[in-house]
């Protein structure tokens, strides 16, 4: 079987399983799978930033958290804002922030890029945390409306799951499509040799900026979905711990692989859920798992299969 067919088969299997899931599994499983689906979009944007752009983001929670906050604040304050409208708004605000921060970030690379994103993350987290009148600070924001979509109630977890699935699948396909466009190729070219891309005549900074804005938008969409999923949002969605968890998820799954984010967020969600059932020390086990994983499989779990082909 050729590689392409294998991918297709894997895709179809995952798709069919995802669609059938609510009917073959208990309720609490559905909740976790919804979380996995939403998080995998976030991890996907992080992975693309590293993989296609060569940029190691240490502050990915900024886009996620701001998308979540923007959509929640919009739902609270704009009467009659639709479900999709709020989600789009979250994405647009995150994309805008990504554009604004990107103006500073595009000049950086390597460790300095990572550290500047870290600085921005802390800065924005501090603002969100301290600006109680808008964001609720430590208490967070809850009790925001969950509008129906085309007459379908989003309060039903099954419906919400399907909607998340559709949105995430759409966003992921768009991300994937972007990497095939000429602009996507330019970004990859910049990663492999920035000087040469400049010399050929591409506008390096503008290309990177568009790339970052797009990824910020999708991360924001994922944040807005997550806010509706949790029905609550607090400053912990924008802090450094969230950013590090994104990195862990991406690495567990495998950075160089399309299905990596899904697998990584899946393992992460299940591991944290079940480990925290059995022990208070789940972060210890988690840390050890990450260390062992990177030692044995530096390219992530799916990286192992790639090497053997």
């Amino acid at each position: 079987m050729t590689n392409r067919n294998l991918y297709l088969l894997a895709g179809i299997t995952v798709g069919v399983l995802a669609v059938l899931f609510p009917h073959i599994s208990p309720r609490f499983q559905l909740r976790m799978v919804t979380e996995i689906v939403i998080l995998s979009l976030l991890v996907m944007t992080w992975k693309m930033m590293l993989n296609e752009g060569g940029l190691f983001s240490f502050g990915h929670a900024v886009y996620f958290g701001l998308g979540a906050y923007a959509s929640v604040i919009a739902w609270l304050n704009i009467k009659g804002l639709s479900f999709i409208g709020g989600i789009l708004l979250g994405g647009i605000v995150a994309g805008f922030i990504s554009f604004f921060l990107g103006a500073f970030l595009v000049r950086m690379s390597g460790t300095y890029y990572a550290l500047l994103t870290l600085a921005f993350n802390q800065l924005i987290w501090a603002i969100v945390w301290k600006w109680r009148s808008v964001t609720g600070g430590d208490d967070g924001l809850g009790r925001f409306p969950k509008p129906d979509l085309l007459g379908i109630s989003m309060r039903d977890p099954v419906n919400f799951y399907y909607l998340s699935l559709v949105i995430v699948a759409l966003c992921m396909s768009l991300c994937h499509y972007f990497s095939k466009t000429p602009l996507g190729n330019v970004v990859k070219g910049i990663k492999s040799n920035e000087e040469r891309s400049k010399f050929i005549g591409f506008n390096v900074n503008a290309s990177k900026l568009i790339f970052l804005t797009l990824l910020g938008f999708f991360a924001g969409v994922s944040g807005a979905l997550y806010a509706q999923f949790q029905e609550f949002i607090s400053a912990s969605s924008i802090d450094l711990v969230m950013s590090t968890h994104v990195i862990f998820m991406a690495f567990i799954g495998g950075v160089g692989h399309f299905w990596g984010p899904l697998l990584g967020s899946g393992i992460y969600v299940y591991l944290s859920e079940y480990l925290s059932h059995y022990t208070d020390r789940w972060e210890l086990i988690f840390g050890i798992v990450v260390v062992i994983l990177v030692l044995l499989a530096p390219q992530g779990i799916l990286g192992i299969t790639k090497k053997r082909k």
């Binding site: 950086m108 501090a126 030692l295």
Partner: protein, 286 residues
């Protein structure tokens, strides 16, 4: 006026403490191009070990000698058994692995010592206070100041004047060439990692009576420590000196004038410096 002097001295003491941790971090980065996030766990480990040491032998000075050495051994083990194995995989992997170690070490510390706050008494020889401009000032902070200055001088001497220092500087500027000229690079890596974690452990022991011991002490320090290393320029010792002075003063006066936004100032400084000069104040390459 008095408050300003006192606040300045306080900032100086805190800045010197930051310098001790940040210098280890920047040394390791300059050598191996790895940002060792787990470095702050070493700082925590030093503080907690000194607490136990004080319980066992009841002498601060013995702890000051032994605890950093124990921390250094941990650091060396981490380099030898973990970091060295992923060295070929790339910097990103090394970075992620230090993250995993940070998580695990912090949890181990919580496991062993519990998560409640502990306090370490100031050693009796330094528990007094001095009169500075008519104001009472605790002697221990002055001790931190002078001890850190001593360590700074020691580090500068080692780096600039000894054969080991020359080797280290040669490896920072061109690792492959140094290796080709017959330097045992893996051994020097291990040594630098040991010195770096020794410095972090030392800072932990000194900080324990000053700032107290809590399970969040590492995270509080992590951010400031990173700001220092990055603002000063990764890999630059003098950058670390200047930046820790700046951050020490900034946090000290920030708390005095705008307590609510004190945490933001450091990051603002870091962001501004990075935007204007991406390699940091004293960094050489971006």
């Amino acid at each position: 006026m008095e408050t300003i002097v006192i606040q300045f001295l306080h900032g100086l003491a805190y800045g010197m403490l930051l310098f001790l941790v940040a210098s280890g971090l920047t040394l390791v980065f300059g050598m191996m191009s790895v940002l060792n996030i787990a470095h702050v766990s070493f700082y925590m480990l030093g503080a907690y070990l000194s607490y136990t040491m004080l319980k066992v032998v009841d002498n601060f000075w013995i702890g000051l000698i032994i605890c950093p050495v124990l921390v250094a051994i941990t650091g060396i083990a981490m380099e030898r058994f973990i970091l060295r194995r992923v060295h070929t995989a790339g910097h990103v992997q090394e970075f992620v692995i230090t993250f995993g170690i940070l998580f695990a070490l912090n949890e181990v510390i919580k496991w062993v010592w519990g998560s409640e706050n502990l306090s370490v008494p100031i050693p009796s020889a330094l528990s007094g206070s001095l009169l500075i401009m008519g104001h009472i000032y605790p002697a221990y902070r002055l001790f931190i100041l002078f001890f850190s200055l001593f360590i700074l001088a020691l580090l500068a001497f080692i780096l600039m004047k000894t054969r080991l220092g020359i080797t280290v500087r040669a490896m920072v500027s061109d690792r492959d060439m140094a290796s080709a000229l017959g330097t045992n690079t893996p051994f020097v890596f291990m040594l630098v990692m040991g010195i770096g974690s020794w410095l972090a452990g030392l800072a932990g022991v000194i900080a324990a009576p000053f700032l107290g011991i809590s399970s969040g002490m590492g995270l509080d320090f992590l951010t400031d420590c990173f700001i220092v290393t990055v603002t000063g320029g990764l890999g630059s010792l003098w950058g670390a000196v200047v930046a820790s002075f700046l951050i020490g003063q900034l946090s000290s006066f920030g708390i005095l004038f705008m307590p609510r936004f004190a945490i933001v100032f450091g990051f603002l400084l870091m962001a501004v410096v990075l935007v204007i000069k991406p390699s940091g104040l004293f960094g050489e390459k971006a």
